[in-house]
Structures are given as structure tokens and as C-alpha cells.
């Protein structure tokens, strides 16, 4: 027998499969099918933890996700903070402990896998209680694609916790039948252990499926797009507010019934049942029949319902109407309840011994998802609950979630909603038959928020939110401080902000506020229902986009070659680019100096495939490019290449690259590596929405080509070894032109472009040939000491030439003029993007920041990039006026000294002046120069 409170038979647990676990250092045994809570109760353990503010003992108050109290920390199989014992499935080897309100994170990485999947359906049914099952069956029979999800381990909802009959047989028979029918339908997805936790726009719902600790995927997030949704999420029983209502052994009445019927556990031996409505009577009767002594049913109503009175009388259960529990006794477990008559009543006050105090203050429909779906709720006086009011299109809220509390009604409403939903989704659907269910007359509850006549002294023993340890005294204090909005009082008292998000305390606090303010509950309203419906692990949402899959790694055709060199890579957008190629024993600086030297004196090669490439075609291509580049592209001759700058309409540089004219009506535009997608979209935007009359087509061809830059005085010789059909002489193949030919056996488009200032070629070959051509060039260059170089060397070489890098030497506040690129801004065009902005007051200022060169004293250290520049040899008190900052800074192999590029106020007018870089707490002198440091005359580009 697993625990002295376990019944010999009954329930959905498997007594033949004992499960060993450890709680708070003690070893226990439960059964397969238990939750941690049911197993603890079976072993007579009620206290689970202590409360967060007052350290009071706290027990198990519920049997589901609404549990406000029974917080546990899982230790084994893997540390997980703050779960409710009522939702932890028992498993062999589970080790857990009670929590005082703060959880503890694991220090080692979580080894489990999490993933996500997209799903589509015609009808999504959330909740598989009687309403949800009936809905799913109606919908499924129409042929519609149905998903039915329930948070619980098995379907059946509240029925699992009762001994109700359907069609004169135990309800679980019907549940099993319907579940099997659903499972057998090919277009139905059955998802137990799946909590739908959020409802977003256009019927997009997100759920998390708990697939098991040992499953390949521990948890799976479901992203469900549903045409129609049926919300059959049931309801949560509401506790009552009275002094000492937090003692372990105090439990929601229906939860006690669930422990009895579903888990075969007696939650106590002698119970007092305190209620405002009929539902708790079922608990009293069932527990009595299972052997629990019922000390009394204490009902705040003046008269109890006839049928229930009869059933109690039959069993000798005493009913105290017009009475309330006004206090409890006991240390770490309730041992007695004080019952008083309500002011208008006449039953005598009494002290009743008990080890279980069942409470029922009515039912809160689970309108969370309904509300997230933008349904509205209203306060129903009759039910003392928030019920759905307006329901948005595509959503149906039914069953207890809609305030329907008899099984018969839930079944009927569910079945209708299921067929309605299927019909709305375009299927022919009948309302599936529902099983017969006995249902007696129901007397309305009498909602009660604060017991009348209690002295204010007891306020701080009357808990409104057990999870947050918030009492009536706290609410009274908030109201007394002048607060009247439920939102303020929530934040003042922290009611409803714990793990359970106020499932049991939310409306309760509204009721208490209403009483204290003397207004209607409807006027107080409730706080906002926000996702998630139940807590969900970060990792479950992080899914598989982790590690290398966090973001795509983009690689070029030559990537493996780079890998084989063991070079470090730089992330450039999503691309991996070789940063530098260190030789054994080299650090970055020496590698880069060597690479630079090779390009300046011999030959180097770089993989530049990552540059974006866009094919621009059409009779108006030239006109279009004239509009989007600052310079003129229409005058470019076929076969020639021009460097171009693009500005946003605000006049600030946002991308640059070369433009090749490949035909009368055709260009190939290149972009920065990180900017390709943005540029294409930008061009499409203008083309489609502003200039649709222009006959131009844009096609991205970035990966069509693998591109190799071959740079250095010996580059022509290297290329000559691998091509025979291209005349490489300057006359035949001048700077800034291109030609087609064969390189290393591959068709190639070869350009004479130079970003280094040296004689250079850019060889474009179809992607598939990239590596083979790269290797051929590398082989052909070996006798010239060909040196592969990475982005760092490329940066140094171009900086020596004063070529800016968009995004490094610019930051979105820099115009082409600021860069000293007035030459690239056409004065002959009527308009181009950005042009108008150049004449704005601030943009036209002459004292803007200019891109200039800086020279620290020869022999000094490289001044760090980012260094701010000032005008004085001594720092005044802050704020110190700043002149600008260093955007690029390197040691130059060619110049044998450090140098830098910087944006400096009026920089071009200050050439020759010395200013100071603020490095650490030092001021380092730097001389302002032209930005071109190397080969100002451009003699080297022709070799």
C-alpha cells in the first residue's frame, strides 16, 4: 500500500506500479498515475512549504494548476524551480522539496531537448472535459481537422474527479470511448499534457506539450493556427476568506473529491465542509461514503438545496446553514474549525474538530484564453463570477468556462459548439449525440467575499492570496491609502502576481475590494488576463534555435578551405568571414602586417563572395539607378564599372558598392555584405511603390557567384597563369572595367576593381566552381608567395587608401560630403534619393564632421578605434567638448606606423593641426591629415 491514506481500490492510479520518491529529505512511495501532491497526501503529508512573507506552514489547497500554495523545488532528475506539487507527475527517483516562495535555478546546463512545431486545424478544442470532448467529437465527425489539447495527463477534465455516471456507466467509460474515437480519426490530433498558454491574433494559439522527462524531446511548443476555436477550459473553484484560512488541511472541496476519486486518496479523516454553493455537498457525500467523517457542512446560505439536504440526512451529515467558519486551529495542520452563525442566523457557534477543512466559495470560469482572444467578460451577480460576455468571431467558449456548471449542459453546449465550429470552417457537421447524465436542480450560490461581523483584528489572518501571503489587512491598507482601482491594489498588495497569476485569488480580491469600498464587484472589475495561462519554461520557448542554430551561419563556396587553414572568423551579419590567417606563432597583429605586406609587394587573395549582388535589368534600369545612387550610372558605358553611394532620403549614406554595366539595359550592382537584403528591399520599395512606371526588374544573385579578390603588383601574373582568353594588359583591360573569360577552367567574369589600391582583379565564377578556382589561383600564385588575407587586412589596406567602410566610418549621421565624397555626388542630376536633404540647414553646415586621416607620432601605439578626440592638451572639467572620434585605426605595414581615420568637426579645414585622442586617462596627440595615406596619385592600381 502506498501510504496510509490510500484506499484499497478505485481511482486512476496503478497500485501495481509503485513509485519511489523523496520529499524534503524523506523517502516515500506513491503509484504510477499520482501527482506529487496526491502521493504526499496518500502518505499523510499536508504541509508542503512555508509562506513567503510570514513563514506560515502551507499545504495542498487544490488538485490542479490553480494551486496557490504547494510550491516545490525539483532537485532530481534535474533542478527546476517552483512547480506546484499538484501538477508534477510522480516518477521514480523524483526528489523535491518545499519552497518558501523563491525557486532555485540549476547551476549546470539543462541537457534536455525542447522543440517547436507548427500546426493548422479547422477546429482547435482547448480542454478535454465533458464540454471539450463533446465538441471535439462533433467537429471530428464532420471530417474537419481537429486538434484537442488538454493540460492534464488524461482526458476527462473534472469528470475524472467525480463518480458521476454517463449513460448509466462510470463517466470514464465514455471518456475512454470518445478519446479512442478521436485518436482513431486520421485528421484529429490528440494532445494530452498540453497546456494552451496563449491566444494571439487571428486565432494563433501557443501550447506547450510535456512529453515526459525521458522523452527525446522533453517539451514541445505547438504553434497552432486554427480557423475556429472552442474554449472548453473549465473552471477553478474559489476559496473563501476567513481567519486562519491558510492552514494546511484547508482544501478546495472539489479538489478533495478529485484526490478521492482520481487518486484513491483520503485527504483526511474528519472534515468540515464550508461552502456558499451546492458543489461542495458532493464532496461531503463522496468523502463520507469513502469513510471520512464529516463533522458538518457549514453553508452560508439560509437554506440548503433539498436534494443535498436529503442526501446528507440519509448519511447523518449535519448541515449548519447561515453559518460560517470564522477561525481555525492547529499548528502545521488544521485541527479544528470555529463555526459561527452569521449575524442574521440562529445556529449556535461551535468548535468542530477536524483534520480537513474543505472550502468552496463558488467557481471562477477559466476565461483566460477567452479574454486573450479579445473576448470580453462581465461579472455575473447570479454566479458570483466573471463570465464571457462578448465572444469574438472564430471563438466559442463553452462549458464551465462559460459559467455552465451541469455536466448535461456542458456536454450539450460542447457538442453544439463543435459542430458549429466545423460548419463555420466549411464542413457539414451534425451535433453529435451526448450521453445521458443525471442532473439535479441547482440552487444559485451565495457569493460572499468578507464574512460579516468579524473584528478587524483578524484581518491579517484572513488570506486573500495565499501565494503572495496577502491578507484582508493588506487590501484594507491599500484602500485606506486612497486606492480604489483594482490595478493599483494588485500592485500595492501584489495579489495575483505569483506563479498562479491569481487563479484562485483574482476575483476574490475584487470582491474584497468591493466590500471595503462599498461598491459593486462589477464596478471593481478584474485585472488583465495575460499569457501564459500557466508558467512555461524559458527553454520550452527557446526551442531548437540554440547554439549554431541560433541564427543561420552563412558561408561561401570556399568556406571549407578557410576552415582547413584554421583561421579565426569574423561575424559579418550572418556571414562567417575569415578574419586573418595566422601562421604558427603569429598573433593577429603580425599576421595582418604580413598579409598587408604581401598585398603591397606581391600578391594576396581574399574571399569576397559575401558582397551582395543584384541584377538590374530593363529599359529604365539606367534611369532607376540614377535615382537611387548619388552619382550618375546612366553615363556608365557597357563593360565599365563605377563605384556608387546610396543615401537614404535623409541624405545619410547607407550603403555603397560597385556598379557594373553588363548590357545596354542591364547592370550588376554590388552591396556591402551585411546590407544586401536591406538594399534589395529598399530598391524594390521605390520601384514598386514610387516609380512603378519604370521598367526595371531586380534579381538577387548574391550566391550565384563566388568572388575572389586577387590584389597586389603580382596579381596580373598570377591570373595570367590560369586564364588564356583574357587580355590582361592595361589597355585591353583597364581599371574599372570587366570582361568575361575562362579562369582555371571555369567561366568567369573578371573585374578590375581595387579596394586595396593595388593592381587587383575580382574574379566571379559560378558558386559551384568557387573552391576549385580559389585553389587554382592559390596554386598558381605559390611561386609569387600568394597570401590569403582576411577582413582585417582588407580593412587596413582600404584605410591606407582612405576608403570608408559604411557602418564603421559612418553611423547613419554621415553624408557623402562628410566623407569627402563630393565627387561621387552628381551635380548634373535633377534628383536622386538624399539630394534634397543636402540643403537642409544642418546638413549644409560647413562645420560638420568630416572624415579625415590622423597620424599619431611614428613609433607610438595604435590609438584604439572609438577614441574620442578633443582640442586641448589638458582636460577641463566635464562636459568636455568633443571634436569627433576615431572610426578606423591600424598599424600600417606600408607606412611603418600607426594611422587612423576619424570623423572630426570641420576636419578638412583643420588638416595639419594636432588634436588629442582621449585614451584611458591620457591625451595622445594626433595630427589631422588627408584621409589618403598611400599612393595618393593612384599609380599602383595599374601595376
Amino acid at each position: 500500500m502506498t501510504g496510509e491514506y490510500r484506499l484499497a481500490d478505485g481511482g486512476r492510479i496503478d497500485r501495481d506500479r509503485p513509485v519511489r520518491f523523496r520529499f524534503d529529505g524523506h523517502d516515500y512511495e506513491g503509484c504510477a498515475g499520482d501527482t506529487l501532491a496526491s502521493a504526499l497526501l496518500a502518505n499523510g503529508v499536508h504541509q508542503v512549504g512555508t509562506s513567503i512573507r510570514y513563514g506560515r506552514p502551507r499545504g495542498i489547497a487544490a488538485a490542479g494548476p490553480e494551486e496557490p500554495n504547494a510550491l516545490v523545488q525539483i532537485e532530481e532528475p534535474f533542478p527546476e524551480p517552483m512547480l506546484t506539487a499538484t501538477t508534477v507527475e510522480l516518477r521514480d527517483g523524483l526528489v523535491a522539496s518545499g519552497l518558501p516562495g523563491q525557486g532555485r535555478l540549476a547551476t549546470e546546463p539543462d541537457p534536455a531537448r525542447y522543440d517547436a512545431i507548427n500546426a493548422h486545424c479547422d477546429v482547435l478544442v482547448v480542454g478535454a472535459g465533458p464540454a471539450g470532448l463533446a465538441a471535439a467529437r462533433s467537429a471530428a465527425r464532420s471530417g474537419a481537422r481537429v486538434i484537442v489539447a488538454d493540460a492534464d495527463t488524461e482526458f476527462g477534465g473534472s469528470l475524472l474527479g467525480t463518480r458521476d455516471e454517463l449513460d448509466q456507466a462510470p463517466a470514464w467509460r465514455w471518456i475512454d470511448r470518445v478519446t479512442s474515437e478521436l485518436q482513431a480519426s486520421p485528421d484529429v490530433t490528440v494532445l494530452p499534457r498540453t497546456t494552451v498558454f496563449g491566444c494571439y491574433d487571428d486565432n494563433y494559439l501557443v501550447a506547450v506539450e510535456h512529453r515526459g522527462e525521458d522523452a527525446f524531446t522533453r517539451q514541445r511548443a505547438w504553434h497552432i493556427r486554427a480557423r475556429e476555436i472552442v474554449l472548453a477550459t473549465g473552471s477553478h473553484e474559489r476559496p473563501l476568506v476567513f481567519p486562519g484560512n491558510d492552514r494546511p488541511g484547508t482544501m478546495l472541496a472539489s479538489s478533495a473529491r478529485t484526490y478521492l476519486h482520481r487518486y484513491g486518496v483520503l485527504p483526511g479523516r474528519r472534515a468540515v465542509v464550508f461552502t456558499t454553493n451546492d458543489s461542495a455537498y458532493a464532496a461531503a457525500v463522496d468523502l463520507h461514503d469513502a469513510g471520512v467523517e464529516i463533522a458538518a457542512v457549514v453553508d452560508v446560505r439560509p437554506v440548503a438545496t433539498t436534494v443535498w439536504t436529503a442526501r446528507c440526512v440519509e448519511r447523518g451529515i449535519r448541515i449548519l446553514t447561515n453559518c460560517a467558519v470564522t477561525g481555525t486551529s492547529g499548528a502545521d495542520r488544521v485541527s479544528g474549525a470555529q463555526v459561527s452563525s452569521l449575524p442574521s442566523g440562529d445556529a449556535a457557534p461551535a468548535e468542530l474538530d477536524c483534520d480537513l477543512l474543505l472550502v468552496s466559495g463558488g467557481w471562477n470560469p477559466a476565461v483566460h484564453l477567452h479574454s486573450q482572444a479579445r473576448g470580453t467578460v462581465r461579472y455575473s451577480e447570479e454566479l458570483g463570477a466573471l463570465v464571457p460576455d462578448r465572444t469574438p468571431r472564430g471563438v466559442r467558449t463553452v462549458g464551465a468556462a462559460a459559467g455552465t456548471f451541469t455536466t448535461a449542459e456542458c456536454l450539450r453546449a460542447g457538442s453544439e459548439a463543435g459542430s458549429d465550429a466545423a460548419r463555420e470552417a466549411g464542413f457539414h457537421a451534425d451535433v453529435a449525440e451526448v450521453p445521458g447524465s443525471p442532473s439535479g436542480p441547482v440552487t444559485p450560490p451565495q457569493p460572499i467575499w468578507l464574512l460579516p461581523g468579524l473584528s478587524a483584528d483578524s484581518d491579517d489572518e484572513q488570506f486573500v492570496d495565499l501565494a503572495r501571503d496577502a491578507t484582508v489587512a493588506d487590501v484594507r491598507k491599500a484602500v485606506g491609502a486612497g486606492m480604489s482601482s483594482v490595478e493599483h491594489i494588485k500592485r500595492f498588495t501584489t495579489i495575483g502576481t505569483a506563479h498562479d497569476q491569481g487563479k484562485t485569488s483574482g476575483l476574490l480580491s475584487s470582491g474584497v475590494i468591493a466590500e471595503l469600498l462599498g461598491v459593486e464587484v462589477a464596478e471593481v472589475g478584474a485585472t488583465t488576463f495575460r499569457p501564459p495561462y500557466a508558467p512555461v519554461a524559458f527553454a520550452a520557448l527557446a526551442g531548437r534555435d540554440r547554439g549554431d542554430l541560433y541564427d543561420p551561419i552563412r558561408v561561401t563556396a570556399m568556406h571549407d578551405w578557410h576552415l582547413e587553414q584554421d583561421c579565426p572568423f569574423e561575424n559579418v551579419g550572418q556571414w562567417k568571414r575569415p578574419w586573418y590567417y595566422p601562421q604558427p606563432g603569429e598573433d593577429m597583429e603580425s599576421a595582418v602586417l604580413r598579409e598587408c605586406h604581401a598585398v603591397r609587394t606581391g600578391v594576396g587573395m581574399q574571399d569576397v563572395s559575401t558582397l551582395g549582388k543584384i541584377d538590374v535589368q530593363g529599359p529604365d534600369a539606367a534611369e532607376f539607378l540614377d535615382l537611387v545612387y548619388t552619382n550618375k550610372m546612366s553615363t556608365l558605358r557597357v563593360g565599365r564599372i563605377r563605384y556608387g553611394v546610396m543615401c537614404h532620403a535623409d541624405g545619410m549614406v547607407f550603403d555603397d558598392g560597385t556598379v557594373m554595366r553588363t548590357g545596354e539595359h542591364r547592370y550588376l550592382v554590388s552591396t556591402t555584405s551585411g546590407g544586401a537584403a536591406g538594399v534589395l528591399e529598399w530598391l524594390e520599395d521605390w520601384l514598386q511603390t514610387e516609380w512603378p512606371h519604370l521598367r526595371v526588374h531586380l534579381t538577387s544573385v548574391t550566391e550565384q557567384w563566388a568572388t575572389i579578390a586577387l590584389a597586389g603588383p603580382r596579381s596580373r601574373e598570377v591570373l595570367a597563369r590560369v586564364t588564356s582568353d583574357i587580355d590582361l594588359t592595361n589597355d585591353a583591360f583597364p581599371f574599372m572595367s570587366w570582361t568575361d573569360g575562362t579562369v582555371a577552367g571555369s567561366g568567369a567574369r573578371v573585374c578590375r576593381i581595387s579596394f586595396s589600391g593595388e593592381l587587383a582583379f575580382e574574379i566571379n565564377v559560378p558558386w559551384w566552381h568557387g573552391r576549385q578556382v580559389w585553389e587554382a589561383l592559390h596554386r598558381a600564385g605559390s611561386e609569387f608567395g600568394i597570401t590569403p588575407y582576411g577582413t582585417e587586412t582588407m580593412h587596413v589596406l582600404r584605410a591606407e587608401k582612405g576608403f570608408p567602410i559604411v557602418g564603421q566610418d559612418t553611423d547613419g549621421t554621415v553624408t557623402p560630403h562628410d566623407l569627402g565624397m563630393g565627387w561621387a555626388v552628381s551635380k548634373k542630376k535633377d534628383d536622386f534619393l538624399g539630394m534634397r536633404s543636402f540643403s537642409r540647414e544642418d546638413t549644409a553646415r560647413s562645420d560638420r564632421k568630416h572624415l579625415v586621416g590622423l597620424l599619431p607620432p611614428a613609433g607610438s601605439a595604435v590609438v584604439p578605434e572609438g577614441t574620442q578626440l578633443v582640442d586641448s592638451t589638458e582636460l577641463p572639467a566635464p562636459p568636455v567638448p568633443m571634436l569627433g572620434h576615431i572610426t578606423s585605426s591600424y598599424r600600417s605595414a606600408a607606412l611603418d606606423r600607426p594611422f587612423a581615420l576619424a570623423l572630426v568637426k570641420s576636419g578638412r579645414d583643420r588638416i595639419g593641426q594636432t588634436i588629442y585622442g582621449h585614451v584611458g586617462d591620457e591625451l595622445v596627440p594626433v595630427e589631422i591629415t588627408e584621409p589618403v595615406f598611400y599612393d595618393k596619385e593612384g599609380n599602383r592600381r595599374d601595376g
Binding site: Y200, D201, D202, Y204, H223, R225, R374, A649, D650, E681, E684, D685, Q688, T689, E690, P692, D830, D831, M835, R836, S837, S839, R840, E841
Partner: protein, 89 residues
């Protein structure tokens, strides 16, 4: 996750699209002729409607077309009652 109705590909998840803000803001016919104030309007000022808003979307991960949508900015409800084919800025 909104479902954005691409006039070509049909409704797709919001994540396939790029948002383009207010529709119907056209580039001045002769930018050099407009005042600094009007140019600033064009550059930086867009309607920020609370309620039904006509806005632009680009089906970035799909057909790459720009189109307009009418959406209620308080509820994200999209109105399917008009032709989306007109592409305007």
C-alpha cells in the same frame, strides 16, 4: 502572430513580412521645390492613427511585393474589403 493577407500569396504569418508604415505618402514630384518644412514632413512625419489605418507591408519572405492593408491599430483586425493590388507608398 497576425495573418497578413498578401494579395498574391494569400494570408501568411506576420514574420514573412516587413512593415512599411503609413501608405499613401508620396515622394514630392519635385523635391528640390518643396520647403524644408514640407521635406521634413515627407521624411519623418507619418500618421500614427489609433483605429483603422491604411498601411504598407512587403511580402519579404514570399513574392517580395509591396501592398496595402487596412488594419485597426487597437485590435489588429484586418479589413479584407478592399482591393490590395494598388501599391502606394
Amino acid at each position: 502572430m497576425m495573418l497578413i493577407p498578401c494579395p498574391w500569396c494569400g494570408p501568411r504569418n506576420e514574420t514573412e513580412f516587413h512593415y512599411g508604415g503609413q501608405a499613401d505618402v508620396s515622394y514630392p514630384a519635385d523635391p528640390q521645390a518643396v520647403s524644408d518644412v514640407d521635406w521634413a514632413r515627407f521624411l519623418f512625419f507619418r500618421a500614427n492613427t489609433k483605429g483603422i489605418f491604411t498601411e504598407r507591408w512587403n511580402h519579404q519572405a514570399g513574392c517580395r511585393r509591396w501592398f496595402t492593408v487596412r488594419r485597426d491599430t487597437t485590435t489588429n483586425e484586418i479589413f479584407h474589403d478592399d482591393s490590395h493590388e494598388a501599391v502606394t507608398r
